[in-house]
């Protein structure tokens, strides 16, 4: 279902599948939570301004208070945010191939440090070294950033299967 919610957000579902996904959202529960988290993530990534806390709940309340003449169906309320289902839900957020940047090796001659940055020409793919995760683990412990952010930077590691291109 999470894949369907993600595909729905991306406009990739056909009419029937979209209808099923929207039905799942109507039933609240995990699908709705998933929808909320995906939008939170995507808003965060795109720097979209967020609505104030409880916006959806307040809209629901207002709608409930409206006269019933031709009123739309009530929007469902939000489920509590502390459920751990979050993690699993968020994990399915748009996964795409990591943007590998690969560059030609620089000439061996050392560049004078005062000089402007050397031009870098992308030529061929140089994969991350097989021991990349060992290097990253060894490196992170000395990054001053850890003192501002705790262990979060330690998540930077190379996934085992980098070659699964998914849009």
């Amino acid at each position: 279902m999470k894949e369907h919610i993600s595909a729905l957000m991306d406009g990739e579902l056909d009419g029937r599948a979209a209808g099923e996904a929207i039905d799942a959202l109507r039933r609240e529960g995990e699908a709705l939570e998933c929808w909320r988290v995906y939008h939170l993530i995507s808003d965060g990534m795109r720097d979209t301004r967020l609505l104030s806390a409880g916006f959806a709940a307040r809209v629901s309340q207002r709608l409930e208070a409206e006269p019933t003449v031709l009123a739309p169906a009530n929007l469902p309320g939000r489920t509590p945010a502390q459920r751990f289902a979050f993690a699993a839900a968020a994990s399915l957020a748009a996964v795409a191939l990591v943007g590998w940047l690969a560059f030609a090796p620089q000439p061996e001659a050392p560049q004078p440090m005062a000089q402007a940055q050397p031009a870098i020409t992308p030529v061929l793919n140089v994969p991350l070294p097989s021991a990349a995760n060992d290097y990253l683990l060894a490196h992170q412990g000395f990054s001053p950033r850890v003192s501002l952010q705790g262990m979060a930077p330690y998540v930077r590691t190379v996934a085992e299967h980098q070659d699964e291109p998914r849009k």
């Binding site: 939170l40 993530i41 965060g44 990534m45 967020l50 502390q82 751990f84 979050f86 993690a87 699993a88 968020a90 994990s91 957020a93 748009a94 996964v95 795409a96 191939l97 990591v98 943007g99 590998w100 940047l101 690969a102 560059f103 090796p105 620089q106 061996e108 050392p110 004078p112 440090m113 940055q117 050397p118 870098i120 140089v126 991350l128 070294p129 021991a131 990349a132 060992d134 290097y135 990253l136 683990l137 060894a138 490196h139 412990g141 000395f142 990054s143 001053p144 950033r145 003192s147 501002l148 952010q149 705790g150 262990m151 979060a152 330690y154 998540v155 930077r156 590691t157 996934a159 085992e160």
Partner: protein, 312 residues
């Protein structure tokens, strides 16, 4: 010795520069919150078109933090006051990094925070909601193109860093960390215990020891990056590897030096990237030099190209 003197000079010079006291106070508040609060939350790490979810829990009273990666290859990291353990359940290996005797895990002292002003303009941005928290934005804008910029969003009430964005010189996002859920307090000792603590994993201890790597150095420094540590260590099952770390107070770049014959596979010279991290590999004097750093590709390459060996 000269290195240290130079680094000290830079710190004092930096401290002397005027910088908005409010923005420095915010950096301090973020650092204090990171260290002094107990919290648990789910966060997304996003780079390129990819995002990964992890869970992080900290128990301040025990100075213990646990990170569990929820996507891809299962990994769990537990950091205590003096060790970081990385559990890899698939290979049944636990990698152990210990604090070296002369050095604790990094903490920015007040004078180091002020010294950041030498390389970054530090300013307060807008206040906005992020992940349900009212946040203050703190901007670190680099004064040159040798380092990345940072936009930090901290909860105005607690100081917790809710979102951190790394940007390049053109203002493009390189990577970001963002909590999608965060609870402050209510952490019990069980929550920071490893799930694999008693599982009989094979231990790979880095056995890091401070040292002087005779003959190795940089033909010229990258402006603002100073040597902060030099050690030998193990990586995986390899022979001892040298590691020298340079930092401008926020970004860090490690230079790894290993004898070519210690490697089982041929080295591949070139540059690879992972979010804000660049890894550049080249051969120097029959050694493999691998430079790993959260800095623009050109900076990592410049440090790599400056690595030299002179017969002591």
């Amino acid at each position: 010795m000269l290195w240290r003197a130079a680094a000290l000079l830079c710190i004092f010079a930096g401290a002397a520069q005027a910088q908005s006291p409010e923005s420095l106070a915010w950096l301090r508040k973020i650092q204090d919150a990171t260290r002094n609060l107990s919290y648990s939350g789910t966060f997304v790490y996003q780079h390129g078109g990819r995002s990964e979810t992890s869970r992080i829990t900290r128990l301040a009273a025990a100075d213990t933090e646990r990170l569990e990666v929820l996507d891809g290859m299962p990994r769990e990291l537990v950091r205590t006051r003096d060790t970081v353990r990385c559990y890899l359940p698939e290979s049944k290996v636990v990698k152990v990094e210990r604090r070296t005797p002369d050095r604790s895990f990094p903490a920015l002292l007040p004078e180091q925070l002020s010294a950041l002003a030498q390389h970054y303009d530090i300013s307060l941005g807008e206040t906005r909601r992020v992940g349900g928290f009212d946040c203050q934005a703190v901007m670190l804008t680099p004064k040159d193109n040798l380092r990345y910029g940072y936009r930090l969003y901290a909860d105005t009430a607690s100081g917790m860093l809710v979102r951190a964005v790394t940007v390049d010189a053109a203002g493009n996002q390189i990577e970001q960390f963002m909590f999608t859920q965060l609870t402050i307090g209510r952490v019990t000792p069980d929550m920071v215990k490893s799930r694999h603590a008693a599982a009989g994993f094979r231990v790979e201890d880095a056995e890091a020891a401070p040292t002087r790597l005779a003959g190795w150095g940089l033909s010229s420094e990258l402006p603002g990056f100073h040597k902060i540590v030099e050690l030998t260590r193990r990586m995986g099952e390899s022979k001892p590897v040298g590691q020298v770390v340079y930092s401008d107070g926020l970004a860090a770049v490690s230079v790894f030096i290993e004898p070519l014959q210690a490697r089982r596979e041929p080295a591949r010279t070139g540059l690879a990237s992972l979010g804000a991290i660049h890894i550049y590999t080249r051969e120097v004097a029959n050694h493999m030099v691998t430079v790993v750093g959260e800095a623009p590709a050109a900076s990592v390459q410049r440090i790599a190209n400056a690595v030299e060996y002179r017969r002591p």
